[in-house]
């Protein structure tokens, strides 16, 4: 079917407008700011000054010579990779577990895992603030003390003895718990959309549950796997809210608990208020994100999914 351009615009127009307003324009603004020397949000003074690639040169310099920036990069890589694996495979495991439960059980179980995502970020972070608190009031500390595994309260995310692993553990744990529900929901609904007869047929053919998972459920949800992986990778690259609060509240170390996205946020708003540098770092992160996204989609075979048309729509 041929669709006329005007009607296409009519239907897609509102969505395009929203995308432009909330995504494209801020993106351009941020790229633009990265070419200005803006600090302290002094828009009047700096917005029209143009410094070329100076901010990028500064960023490059920091990356090369500032050990704290090395920490940021290492933290980002470890955080994104480990949390991604936890998110995707944790979500997959939860989806599989709930798929083979009866409906009521699985709904309750899924609700439980959705709680972290439904809880406001501040409340959720506060929960873990108390859990990982470095004094005796910290839940983790009091449990470990009760079990006589430690003699004094420990500061897992702060004490240099445990760094960087302590800080990494906390931010990965806290974000991983929020993220698994996403994969769980997507995978679960993907499994549910597989015709029931296919599963029955496999059972009749003599397949055990593990075989059904391996030969039917997983191959038929490859694209969902791709999608969840890429999507989660993007959101993990960009996320900072929980981590920001944990850093601000002094639960995790500000050096080893700081991902690139958080570095951008703190540079722009709390530490040096150097928006020009922050914008450059943010643009750089976007470019890395896009490159990684393309690599991931290629590696996981996204093209094949969108090419083969199933006939005229």
């Amino acid at each position: 079917m041929k669709i006329r351009k005007t009607s296409l615009l009519f239907f897609l127009g509102p969505a395009l407008f929203v995308v432009a307003l909330f995504y494209i324009i801020p993106l351009f603004l941020s790229v633009y700011i990265s070419f200005t020397p803006m600090v302290d949000w002094n828009v009047n003074r700096y917005l029209t000054q143009f410094v070329g690639l100076q901010n990028y040169e500064r960023l490059f310099h920091i990356v090369m010579y500032d050990p704290d920036m090395r920490a940021v990069i290492m933290t980002t890589v470890v955080f994104v990779l480990v949390t991604l694996v936890i998110n995707v495979f944790g979500g997959l495991l939860l989806a599989l577990a709930t798929y083979f439960m009866d409906e009521k059980m699985s709904a309750a179980y899924q609700g439980l895992w959705l709680l972290p995502r439904m809880t406001p970020i501040a409340v959720y972070s506060l929960l873990w603030y108390y859990f990982f608190h470095s004094s005796g009031i910290g839940v983790l500390n009091s449990i470990l003390l009760k079990l006589h595994l430690i003699n004094h309260p420990i500061a897992l995310g702060l004490d240099p003895k445990y760094l960087p692993w302590g800080a990494w553990f906390i931010i990965i744990f806290v974000n991983g718990l929020v993220g698994v529900s996403y994969g769980m929901i997507i995978f679960y609904s993907a499994f549910k959309s597989i015709p029931r007869e296919l599963i029955i047929a496999a059972r009749v053919d003599g397949a055990s549950t593990t075989r059904i998972i391996r030969h039917i459920l997983l191959p038929l949800t490859k694209w969902h796997f791709t999608f969840v992986t890429v999507w989660q990778m993007f959101s993990l690259l960009m996320t900072y809210a929980q981590t920001f609060l944990l850093v601000e509240w002094r639960v995790v170390d500000s050096t080893w608990g700081q991902t690139w996205a958080l570095y951008v946020f703190r540079t722009a708003f709390t530490t040096t208020k150097d928006q020009g540098l922050a914008a450059a770092a943010s643009t750089f992160l976007s470019i890395i994100g896009i490159i990684l996204g393309i690599i991931a989609l290629k590696a996981l075979g996204y093209e094949k999914m969108i090419l083969e048309p199933k006939g005229d729509i």
Partner: protein
């Protein structure tokens, strides 16, 4: 060489009783058709035999061996679904090989078996296609191949032809029947299409609301339905039902006409003290004409509609409160005038009598 026996099998889903206290024996090597309306419990019965559902109560036997607690694989059944349920991500070859691979049979044996069954069903040239590259009829064959390659002791088919066009359906059902006879495999075939059932069944089991209504050969089911449900479910159009009043003198009166029932029927009417009775006759056992015919039971009515269907026509007559359909030669039917007074001349020997309370055929009530 397997016969199947269901012993007082009930299956509940929550409050719904899908299969209710079913006793059924399926003879070795025969093709049984489960026939009934949508929601009647056909698929559930089939899945119970397959071992996909466990009965809520009752036992299932294969050859006197209790298989109630065995898995589908242990029962060694082949199952063909209405939507074929081919694995969409596997080529035809892998679809057929799948059950053998799960049994961990050696590669060469798998290969020869797949080719053998593919040859038998004439799908050898399709082996390296994906299911979505096949037509409905081809998919149906592949599904059949996947069921047969296991050399199952029982073949179960759930409305296997309902996704095909009418012409192909008639063609493939004949093939299916041939194949079943050649292999001599005990088969249970589910359909809600009564002409399909009549065409291929050794025995038909009519099932409604989870209860077996009648079990018998296609002839028995067609000629002598056990109750009103079967009478009005089988046949196209199905049997006509007319209600009558039993008079003092032993005759039956309906819409102004009188009929003397056969002595055996009369005796049962008396014994059951029936005041009313339901009479049923097949559309092809009556003729509509302008004048009553000698020796026939001929209630009078208004000609409502004549639908020519080629050689025969369906003639609709309203007789009192009843709508009656008659199948007769188109040539004769076209002589009649719509709206005119006509007689429905029924062959009295073909009339079946039903108790209006139990809706049972009097012939099936013990004397």
């Amino acid at each position: 060489m397997v016969s199947i026996r269901l012993d007082k099998v009930t299956k509940r889903f929550g409050k719904v009783v899908a299969v209710n206290n079913v006793d059924l024996e399926i003879e070795d090597g025969k093709l049984y058709v489960l026939l009934g309306p949508s929601g009647g419990g056909k698929t559930t019965t089939l899945y119970l035999i397959a071992g996909i559902y466990k009965p809520t109560s009752g036992r299932i036997y294969f050859n006197e061996k209790d298989v109630t607690d065995l898995t589908p694989a242990e029962r060694n059944v082949g199952l063909v679904f209405q939507n074929y349920a081919l694995y969409p991500h596997m080529k035809v070859y892998d679809n057929i090989a799948f059950p053998l691979r799960l049994r961990k049979e050696p590669k060469s044996k798998i290969d020869s078996k797949v080719h053998e069954v593919a040859k038998f069903l004439r799908i050898e040239n399709l082996l390296d296609r994906y299911p979505h590259q096949l037509s409905g009829g081809q998919q149906q064959r592949v599904a059949l191949a996947r069921a047969l390659v296991k050399e199952p002791s029982v073949l179960l088919l759930d409305e296997p032809l309902s996704n095909l066009d009418a012409l192909l359906r008639v063609y493939i059902r004949a093939e299916l029947k041939r194949m079943q006879q050649d292999l001599g495999i005990t088969s249970v075939y589910v359909t809600h299409d009564q002409s399909e059932a009549l065409a291929i069944a050794d025995k038909i089991v009519v099932i409604n609301k989870g209860v077996i209504q009648q079990e018998g050969t296609p002839e028995q089911i067609y000629e002598n339905p056990r109750n009103v449900f079967v009478a009005t479910f089988i046949g196209n159009p199905p049997m006509n039902i007319v209600k009558g009043t039993v008079l003092e003198d032993g005759t039956i009166e309906t819409t102004g006409s009188r009929l003397t029932p056969p002595p055996a029927v009369l005796e049962k009417i008396k014994r059951l003290k029936l005041k009313n009775i339901l009479m049923a006759f097949r559309p092809e056992n009556a003729v509509v004409s302008e004048h009553p015919i000698e020796g026939r039971f001929s209630p009078m009515g208004d000609l409502f509609e004549v639908e020519p269907l080629g050689r025969d026509a369906v003639v609709t007559v309203t007789v009192g409160e009843f709508v009656i359909k008659v199948v007769m030669p188109t040539r004769e039917a076209m002589q009649l005038r719509i709206g005119s007074k006509v007689y429905v001349n029924i062959d009295p020997s073909t009339i079946k009598y039903f108790d209006p309370n139990t809706e049972l055929n009097l012939e099936y009530i013990e004397a």
